[in-house]
Amino acid sequence: MKLKQLTVKFVLASLLSVFFIGAQAQQDKVKVGFVYVGPVGDHGWTYQHDQGRQAIENALGDKAETTYVESVAEGQDAERVIRQLASTGHDLIFTTSFGFMNPTIKVAKQFPDVKFEHATGYKRADNVSTYAARFYEGRYIIGRIAGQMTESNVIGYIASFPIPEVVRGINSFTLGLRSVNPDAQVKVVWVNSWFDPGKESDAAKTLIDQGADILTQHTDSPAPLQVAEERGIMGFGQASDMHQFAPTAQLTSIVDDWNNYYVARAQAVLDGTWESGDTWDGLAQGMVIMSPYADSLPAEVKADAQQTEASLTSGELHAFKGPIKNQAGEVMVPEGENASDEMLLGMDWYVEGVDGKLPN
């Protein structure tokens, strides 16, 4: 494997900065830096970002040069790493974790000529864009699959932290689930960690012992799927295709695909057309894709999943289509309307069908 190619080529960098003229001018070459929160081999979040980095190299050839720094802790260390990349001639820097938001903004102020792209954040500047993916669209699809495959009508959901992104995922999953199976319930267990394989696997076992016959997760390790495989039930992968851990249990996986976005942004810098903005793309733009549906799925379930995927992609269907009720039965989104992006971004309530109370 490509172990630590994080050789920052200082000499070349200083040479390049000579070519670097201004925001609107065309460039011969773009130098792109990446800051990762985990190791590229995490088989999840960071792995997918690194696929995007490789896509830039493949697409732009010798017009692009990329570097990355992996396993950067959120906080002071991140600022140092981002500053180092900015001061060594990188034209475009992707910081790929929510916790890199403030360091990115801070360094961006000091390097107005360098462009920054921050994933999943909400603070922007003239030279800082933000981008994220509508993973919840994928969760609606797996919810529908779960609704048709469950026999116990209990679905186990292993969640990380009660933040809007995770709550949105739970709600979207539940809406998909109940659209085909109004009797099914979602049991949520919070492990208060993004990554603790032991705890995730304990949570998975506990949920199965309490009657769940399908598992899904918003934590990063393949441990819950492994438990599903061992106990002979079904589950869904997270962030990347995890079928090697659960060849029979994984029904599909929601995969983040940053490739097109990354290539487009690097190309924009080359063309001198890069502008600060906010991107929140989903299935339609190919930022969220579904890994192949398992062969073990019955033909009609598979067809329904493909149909749902197509409708979500075309925009014909919105995962948060009204009427949507909260747990108390109050209508949050009326019939004929879709939830607004604003509501989705600040979601702090469960929809009907989720078992248990949302921790604040």
């Binding site: 172990l3 267990v189 990554f195 304990d202 506990t206 390790s221 492994q226 078992d355």
Partner: protein, 308 residues
């Protein structure tokens, strides 16, 4: 729910307790000899990655376990050399050992991330495993689970009923007196430290080969620190280490179980529960300060130099 429905939950508890028990028993012996090794987390991770890597490369879980034991022992040897021979500070060296272990295990494990491995075989005994309730609870675990329980009794017997156990305790209580009596303080401590490393390595192998059969960076997620706390929690008594490990494992699983039951308590509080209980017990046992000071080995953490 009838009783049988709770059996799988109890089995999960046993699995959660086993790595804690293995690592804490090793550390107990180390501390009984008067050495404080805070590097348990690092030794566990090295054991986890070595056990996993060798199992993948050779296809043999036995060789994997042996490699995990060796990796833990090697890490402990580094610690022993620094603190016992070069007389460096035990607390600082132990912390450094953990940081070193986290980094080195990640480096070694890079090529093994995402590789699946077969879990350790469960010891299923044909007739006994079929007994309702008790069968699945007592039989059908992997060998390390039984080994960890057996070690409680072996270590307890060895520490309190054998001559060499007495020597080890003597070294831990007063290394100068033991030295004056002609015991090899440094040699005994080396052996204790290496034993602790072996047990921590085995605990790591349990994580990567049985608990969650895979390798990911930093997969022990703080269990080495919990093992350290358990030794204090147990006031350096083997039986209480067993109790503590199962109590801690039990509460960890219970909080997940209660969440799944839809019990209306914020999950953050439930997640804190194991730690709250640890603090509570520590407060309770340390109410009598003479008791806790008599429980701790008197020479714990002190550097020994024979010419002093």
């Amino acid at each position: 729910m009838n009783i049988e429905a709770y059996i799988p939950v109890l089995i999960t508890v046993i699995n959660a307790a086993t790595p804690l028990l293995l690592a804490a028993l090793g550390e107990l012996v180390v501390e009984k000899s008067g050495v404080l090794n805070l590097g348990v987390e690092g030794m566990m991770l090295m054991g986890a990655v070595a056990g996993f890597a060798i199992t993948i490369v050779t296809g043999s879980a036995i060789l994997g376990l042996a490699a995990a034991i060796c990796a833990g022992a090697l890490m402990a040897l580094i610690f022993g050399f620094l603190t016992l021979t070069l007389l460096s500070n035990q607390v600082a060296t132990g912390l450094a050992l953990t940081l070193f272990g986290v980094g080195l295990s990640a480096l070694i494990g890079v090529n093994f991330v995402g590789t699946p491995v077969d879990a350790l075989p469960k010891l299923v005994i044909p007739v006994l495993s079929d007994i309702p309730i008790l069968g699945p609870l007592l039989f059908g675990h992997d060998a390390l689970v039984y080994f960890s329980i057996a070690m409680v009794f072996v270590i307890n017997y060895w520490l309190y009923k054998t001559r060499s156990g007495l020597k080890l305790r003597a070294v831990g209580e007063s290394h100068e007196a033991a030295h004056a009596l002609g015991h090899h303080v440094i040699r005994i401590r080396y052996m204790a430290v290496i034993f602790g490393g072996m047990m921590a390595g085995l605990a790591g192998a349990f994580l990567s080969l049985s608990y969650t059969p895979m390798w990911v960076e930093n997969m022990s997620a703080g269990r080495g620190w919990i093992a350290l706390a358990l030794v204090v929690f147990a006031s350096w008594k083997t039986g209480r280490v067993l109790l503590g490990a199962y109590l801690f494992g039990g509460i960890t699983i219970m909080q997940l179980f209660l969440q799944g039951m839809g019990v209306n308590i914020p999950s953050q509080i439930l997640s804190m529960l194991p730690y709250l209980v640890t603090i509570l017990v520590l407060v309770l046992i340390s109410r009598d300060s003479s008791k806790i000071s008599s429980a701790a080995p008197a020479s714990l953490g002190k550097i020994f130099h024979p010419t002093q």
